[in-house]
């Protein structure tokens, strides 16, 4: 071993100890699985929420390819609360890159025209600046995927990126919808193709079936602005309410249940959540499982 090689090895060893020890220790301390941050700006709330969960590196490893699924589905500006807050998305993109992600891909199978929605919701603009690869969804990118255990859907067309990526982060916006609300579970409809309207009958079973094969590693719910009425399309500022809240967690049922709670709906009345809970996808009892709450202002 020559001197140069010795120094190099030494440096690498020291570095990995310095960087690695807190990580190993960190694994022993338990981080919460559900957090709620309130009364901040979108970006700072995202940072805080991820910190409280134990840092983005709890979810994203170096070299991961990350698929980020916000809602870009409607041709409305962010103020209309039809699409996920772009600053929130941009912050999560930055965090992913800080954790060493190889790339962060953002896509959504939109309801309005894709180019109009992508332009108007500002996510490609802001998240693009943060380094995300924002892609359009094309018909030839869907893979017919069997759904093991599916009660309504035996297979469906699912976007190939769901299977190509290492990690999936779901970032829905909390909105009114005819079933009550739309949140994390419904967000996965942006990753599927085919005749999507068919999913609606019966809604609860189908949406749960989809979530059997599309499993996010982390769900971050944007309730900075929520859409109270005329969702999910929106279009009227009077229907928008500023809650300045975000929810983040690893249990997608529980996150949606708490989203329902802050929206003002008893999660036990939502068929899809009850079904998801009984299918063993997560917890629905909001009294038993409480989030760790942080509020920016007093």
């Amino acid at each position: 071993m020559d001197r140069r090689k010795f120094i190099k090895t030494g440096a690498i060893l020291t570095g990995s100890i310095v960087l690695g020890v807190p990580r190993i220790l960190g694994k022993e301390t338990t981080f919460p699985d559900l957090v709620m941050v309130k009364n901040g700006q979108p970006a700072e709330m995202a940072r805080k929420a991820l910190d409280m969960l134990g840092g983005i590196s709890r979810f994203i490893a170096k070299g991961d390819s990350v698929l980020l699924k916000p809602n870009l589905s409607w041709d409305h500006a962010p103020e209309y609360a039809a699409t996920t807050n772009p600053e929130l998305v941009a912050e999560v993109v930055r965090q992913c890159y800080q954790a060493g992600a190889k790339n962060v891909i953002i896509l959504d199978n939109t309801c309005n025209d894709a180019r109009r929605s992508y332009d108007n919701c500002k996510i490609p603009e802001l998240a693009g600046k943060a380094g995300a690869e924002v892609r359009f969804v094309r018909d030839n990118q869907f893979v017919d995927t069997p759904i093991p255990g599916g009660t309504q859907l035996k297979s469906w067309l699912i976007h190939q990126e769901v299977f190509n990526c290492d990690k999936l982060i779901s970032m829905p916006i909390l909105k009114h919808h005819w079933v009550g609300l739309t949140s994390g579970f419904k967000n996965m409809m942006g990753l599927i193709g085919g005749n999507r309207g068919r999913i609606h009958r019966p809604y609860a079973e189908s949406i749960v079936d989809l979530n059997r094969v599309i499993v996010p590693n982390l769900t971050i719910i944007d309730a900075f602005r929520i859409l109270r009425r005329n969702g999910p399309s929106g279009g009227n500022l009077k229907d928008v309410e500023q809650l300045s809240t975000i929810l983040a967690g690893t249990d997608r049922v529980l996150v949606d249940a708490w989203a329902a709670k802050i929206f003002g709906i008893d999660p036990q009345t939502l068929d899809y959540l009850k079904l998801a809970h009984s299918a063993g996808m997560g917890q629905i009892d909001i009294n038993k499982y409480q989030p760790v709450v942080y509020s920016f202002k007093a």
Binding site: D75, D113, N140, G197, R201, S233
Partner: protein
């Protein structure tokens, strides 16, 4: 080295063709043109004359057409030879398929004058039909609607192929997305009635099989119009009679058969100043120069008898087109673009250029070129077909781009209140009514800020199982519906949707 005059002509043709192509490429969402897509149509005197006569209106932009209309007073029919992009396309086609020994079709020359008189007489009768023969609208719809669709298909299929094979898939995906950002929609529009305009275009190109520039020589009414003015042009072909050996090469090379059998005389209303004769003259006897217009003014090819015959035929044709007017009871599904004028005014103004259809193809994709749905008089007019697309709530581009304001330019808030029609539920098809199951995809997509599609929740007791369930039955709040058709488009049924848009309650504007 001296640049040959012919090089100037070819350069000019290429430049104007590229400009025309640019106007086509710019007719896309996001609509930020630096060269108006309507430019060539505003410059077209035939469009300007017939549309304004038929529609009884004056629009200041059509003063641009005076440039082209009066240009022959100086340059003869140079517009046809140097500018007209359809002429350039035909030239290209001539290179490929024109016959070595063309027959003599000189007796067809008056046809273009007959067509010209006919479309003007029709316009006076209030029927705008010039677009069937007008080269610029023809080329615009051929390139804009058919050409762009094919181009998209070719580019997209190629890129998809490369991605599938795996050659730089990420880069290619980026290329595809960048193209989608600027030029093409993400997915190709689903066009129905392309076959009619395609046939017209292919026939025009195919005519080159008979002789070079057959269309321009014998059929084009715009050429005929410019030819009438060109009779007074001082710029013309001059033959040095002493040098001329009467070899006949010039007559053979002439694109428009404008050279008379003596090889010295030129028919100015035919000559498009292509300069082929000058280039190919073996003794350099031919030049182009200025002479008093008095010399060699040609008589008009159209005899009085033929003109009167044309007039009578055109009037009869006008009657025929009006007879064909369709029964309003059959038109309940024929939805015009938002902001369209009342049907009569709309037909008087619409020049079937296809600009609205093109730009809609990059946005909501509902506008289609109709064939005979609205009768002969409505041939090739735009119709919204909601099973193929829908009207985007925030899009007003068809009205922005219409060169004759047959679709009035509305701003977005105005357009969002303009009713294209009314959605009605077909309860024999709609899933909640027919099967007593929840669906409500239409309600979900309904874009009006206060949703026009509302739901009524009712208990339903399954007669077989006796189970109770709550079903949301959709209905339309008439005062809120703008007939954008997204409900019909997104309805998950195959075939006819459970909710359709009808003309009832449509708002048509007055000019």
């Amino acid at each position: 080295m001296k640049i040959k005059p012919l090089t100037f002509r070819k350069t000019s043709q290429i430049i104007f063709f590229l400009l025309f192509t640019l106007t086509v490429f710019q007719a896309t969402y996001p609509f930020k043109p630096w060269l108006p897509p309507e430019l060539f149509l505003w410059l077209d005197p035939l469009t300007a004359i017939t549309t304004q006569i038929a529609g009884h209106f004056f629009d200041i932009v059509f003063l641009l057409a005076l440039i082209v209309l009066l240009s022959p007073l100086v340059f003869g029919r140079a517009f046809c030879g140097w500018v007209c992009p359809l002429g350039t396309v035909i030239d290209g086609c001539d290179h490929i398929i024109s016959p070595k020994k063309p027959k003599d079709y000189r007796h067809f020359r008056p046809i273009k004058l007959i067509i010209l008189s006919a479309v003007i007489i029709l316009a006076i009768c209030g029927i705008q039909y010039a677009w069937l023969f007008d080269p610029l609208p023809i080329l615009w719809r051929s390139m804009g609607v058919i050409g762009m669709t094919f181009l998209f298909l070719i580019v997209d299929t190629t890129l998809n192929g490369i991605i599938t094979v795996g050659i730089f898939p990420d880069t290619m995906l980026n290329v595809q997305d960048k193209l989608s950002g600027y030029l093409f929609p993400v997915a190709n529009p689903d066009f129905g009635g392309l076959i009619a305009p395609l046939i017209i275009f292919l026939v025009i190109l195919g005519l080159s099989r008979l002789s070079r520039r057959f269309w321009c020589r014998y059929l084009c009414p715009l050429g005929a119009l410019l030819g009438l003015v060109a009779r007074f042009s001082p710029l013309r072909r001059i033959v040095d009679a002493e040098k001329c050996t009467a070899c006949g090469i010039c007559k053979h090379k002439c694109k428009t058969d404008a050279i008379e059998p003596d090889f010295l005389t030129t028919t100015k209303s035919e000559c498009i100043l292509c300069l082929n004769c000058q280039r190919d003259c073996p003794t350099d006897a031919i030049t182009y120069g200025w002479r008093s217009p008095r010399q060699m003014a040609n008589r008009i090819d159209l005899s009085r008898r033929a003109f009167i015959g044309t007039g009578i035929t055109a009037l009869a044709g006008a009657g025929l087109l009006k007879i064909n007017k369709i029964d309003p009871r059959r038109t309940d599904r024929l939805i015009r673009p938002p902001g369209a004028l009342t049907e009569d005014e709309f037909l008087e103004r619409c020049i079937r250029c296809g600009e609205c259809v093109r730009i809609c193809a990059t946005s909501g994709k509902c506008l289609q070129i109709s064939v005979l749905e609205t009768g002969l008089e409505g041939f090739l007019t735009p119709l919204a077909q909601f099973r193929r697309g829908y009207c985007e709530i925030n899009c007003n581009l068809c009205g922005q781009i219409c060169p004759t304001k047959a679709i009035q330019p509305l701003n977005v808030p105005e357009k969002q209140k303009t009713k294209m029609g009314l959605a009605i539920f077909l309860k024999d098809r709609c899933i909640p009514y027919r099967l007593n199951e929840n669906c409500i995809v239409c309600e979900e997509h309904c874009p009006t800020p206060d949703k026009a599609i509302k739901v009524l929740s009712r208990e339903f007791i399954d007669p077989v199982t006796g189970q109770k369930r709550t079903i949301n039955y959709p209905y339309v709040e008439e005062s809120l519906c703008i007939g954008c058709g997204i409900c019909e488009n997104k309805c998950p049924l195959n075939g006819e949707a459970g909710v359709i848009v009808v003309r009832e309650g449509e708002e048509r504007l007055q000019a």
